[in-house]
């Protein structure tokens, strides 16, 4: 299932394939499943407890990608990035374009012919996509301006319990929510699969406005830099260290009581957990927390090395630990610690 989700096509604004797959998986097990005007998939499951609270669990469906912005005379495609993609990771990567998933490769001048002293930062405007067309007219038969493109990358297992694939941020979150939706919990739960997170947390904003939950937990894939050339202060998270709780980042300051409740749900059950040790980045929690009169939020993430690239790497152990922590939190009937 995680393989299908990872390989599904779903750049911001083009989440349909991911949405259809999730919808199909949860429709029969939830009480109400619908898609809102923005494209968020909202799945409601009534709690067993009378007078329980409402909890919004949210994971974004979209991934970083590209949009075709032009076709030149020789049949090469110009493109713009959707979401934060480092130009260094895109050269010579395979992409799939549009509904028909036309194959293409992102091209640049070969290194032999590049001025070796030119250290100027690479810009995506200077790169292009090569779909093997002879000229503009032929390219136009396969691709239109405005078509989306995603990395073309197979999801595989490798090494000691690791997986590699594209869009692990945040199909991992989608996978965890879909798994949790199979269970019954005391409180009312909205499993929300949001759109357009990578372009500014747009879907989460309208979803939170509509749902008005008591609390919200965002399930994410997050940065992990436990790699050479990074010193410990810049790790952010460690792979195989368990899911990471956010303290504060650019968009939200996690509610301390909710964060502690999640921490206890891990430690109390001998599950590894860590704190995210940088405050950079942002996610749907910012939009949800400031929705209307405010919502208490927390963020739990699975560490992903090489995030926003076609070869993101995560640990299966961390993924199941994240699911377990959330499960342990959700089975609790406790309401008190969420009130101020």
């Amino acid at each position: 299932m995680l393989k299908t989700l990872s390989e599904a096509f779903g750049a911001s604004g083009a989440e349909q394939e991911v949405r259809d797959y999730i919808k199909n998986a949860v429709e029969s097990i939830c009480d109400d499943v619908y898609t809102d005007n923005m494209g968020n998939l909202i799945c409601f499951k009534k709690g067993k407890l009378k007078g329980g609270r409402s909890i919004m669990l949210s994971a974004h469906m979209d991934e970083v990608g590209f949009i075709i912005s032009g076709i030149n005379e020789k049949g090469y495609l110009n493109f713009k990035t959707i979401g934060g993609i480092d130009p260094r990771v895109v050269i010579a990567k395979r992409v799939l374009i549009g509904k028909n998933k036309i194959r293409g490769v992102i091209g640049d001048k070969p290194p032999h012919l590049t001025d070796k002293n030119n250290n100027a930062a690479l810009k995506t405007e200077e790169l292009f996509i090569d779909i093997g067309a002879k000229n503009k007219q032929e390219a136009g038969e396969y691709v239109s301006i405005g078509d989306y493109a995603c990395f073309d990358s197979k999801f595989i297992q490798f090494g000691n319990g690791l997986v590699k694939g594209k869009a692990l941020d945040n199909r991992i979150g989608c996978y965890i929510l879909t798994e949790l939706a199979k269970n019954n919990y005391p409180h009312d739960i909205f499993y929300v699969f949001t759109v357009q997170e990578e372009v500014g947390c747009r879907g989460a904003q309208t979803a939170a406005y509509k749902i008005k939950p008591d609390i919200s937990i965002v399930v994410e894939g997050t940065t992990c830099s436990d790699v050479p050339k990074t010193d410990e202060t810049g790790f952010s998270t460690r792979l195989r260290g368990g899911p990471a709780l956010s303290i504060v980042d650019r968009t939200s300051y996690s509610d301390k009581e909710l964060r502690n409740a999640l921490y206890k749900a891990a430690i109390g059950n001998n599950i590894k957990i860590q704190y995210k040790q940088t405050t950079l980045g942002g996610n749907d929690a910012g939009a949800i927390q400031l929705s209307e009169a405010g919502v208490k939020t927390a963020v739990i993430s699975v560490p992903c090395r090489y995030i926003h690239s076609p070869s993101s790497v995560a640990s299966l152990e961390d993924i199941s630990a994240c699911r377990e922590v959330l499960h342990n939190f959700l089975i609790s009937e406790d309401k008190e610690k969420w009130s101020f």
Binding site: Y253, Q277, T279, Q289, V295
Partner: protein, 317 residues
């Protein structure tokens, strides 16, 4: 003055405003019809009246840092909460919320990046990830000049409390809101506005001021009166509020200045776009050495702002 000192010496970085909220709750209790704390921690003090719904805000949070990494020797690495410049941190005495002290220092010769800075806690192994700290500075008074940390936030809280205390009975429905997470992007003010849905809003904030050697890029001066906000990065203030501030200042014979800021955001900016929008504006206290351990302000400006606000509230908008 005791109250301002108490407020300025309380430690309340963004996201952990409890200490200041407690002082204000106690001060406001006798004068309020209703006091609530909302989801993010905003303190909402209501003074009921039959007329217009008016929201007055001042933020409680001050600049600080938050521990993100603790190395095996007990040194604490951190991220800023609010726009605290690395140069303002190097060599400063910092206090964590449990009262423990540490010294901020830089491992690089230049203080350009927060990632080069660390805190050396006097007692090791007391700090946990997510603990936050603020400058450890005493409040000083010298004639009309005041100095200390957090003056840019607590002056506003003080002004709102003075205004609340001056009200016998109100013609309008007044909400005094002491906001949280202002320095993280006026987050508290926005959600409070959604809850209250005010027709009018006036925020009391602070404006950086560089009337010092090598400065004078900004027009404001301390001691020349509170400043009427014309615009900042998040709002173009409503003419009705600007006019009422200017009229009230004239009536009370208080000098005023005008603030046009391109960089700063404000609570009024977050408020005026919530719901169907509020008629919104702000008064700022000019502050030297903004967001450092030793901010300097002039009591003329602080007391002037309080007098203007009292006048506006007494007469209505």
């Amino acid at each position: 003055m005791e109250l301002l000192k108490k407020l300025a010496e309380a430690n309340a970085p963004s996201g952990s405003e409890e200490n200041v909220r407690k002082i204000i709750s106690e001060e406001a209790g006798k004068y309020a019809d209703d006091i609530t704390v909302d989801t993010l921690g905003n303190l909402i003090v209501r003074k009921k009246g039959p007329g217009k719904r008016i929201m007055l805000t001042a933020h409680m949070d001050e600049p600080g840092v938050i521990a993100t990494v603790i190395d095996d020797k007990g040194f604490v690495y951190f991220s800023p909460l609010g726009s605290v410049k690395p140069g303002a941190l190097h060599g400063s005495k910092m206090v964590f919320l449990d009262g423990s002290i540490g010294i901020a220092a830089s491992k690089a010769e230049k203080y350009e990046k927060t990632s080069d800075l660390y805190i050396d806690p006097l007692k090791k192994n007391t700090v946990s990830l997510g603990d936050s700290a603020v400058f450890a500075t005493c409040f000083e008074v010298c004639g009309s000049i005041i100095s200390g940390k957090a003056i840019s936030s607590r002056a506003g809280c003080y002004i709102l409390l003075q205004t609340l205390k001056s009200i016998q009975s109100s013609n309008n429905d007044l909400y005094f809101v002491f906001t949280v997470q202002h320095l993280l992007g006026s987050r508290g003010a926005g959600i409070a506005a959604s809850r209250i849905n005010p027709g009018y809003a006036i925020s009391i904030g602070a404006a950086p001021c560089d009337d010092v050697p090598g400065g004078a890029k900004l027009p404001l001066k301390i001691g020349e009166g509170p400043s009427v906000k014309i615009m900042d990065n998040t709002i173009i203030c409503h003419p009705v509020i600007k006019r009422r501030i200017i009229e009230a200042a004239k009536a009370e014979n208080i000098k005023i200045q005008y603030e046009i800021s391109e960089k700063e955001g404000s609570d009024s900016g977050a408020i005026h776009l919530r719901g169907a929008g509020a008629v919104s504006g702000a008064i700022s206290i000019p502050i030297r050495y903004y967001n450092t351990a030793f901010e300097i302000a002039d009591l003329y400006d602080v007391n002037g702002a309080a007098a203007i606000l009292k006048k506006i509230i007494a007469e209505g908008i």
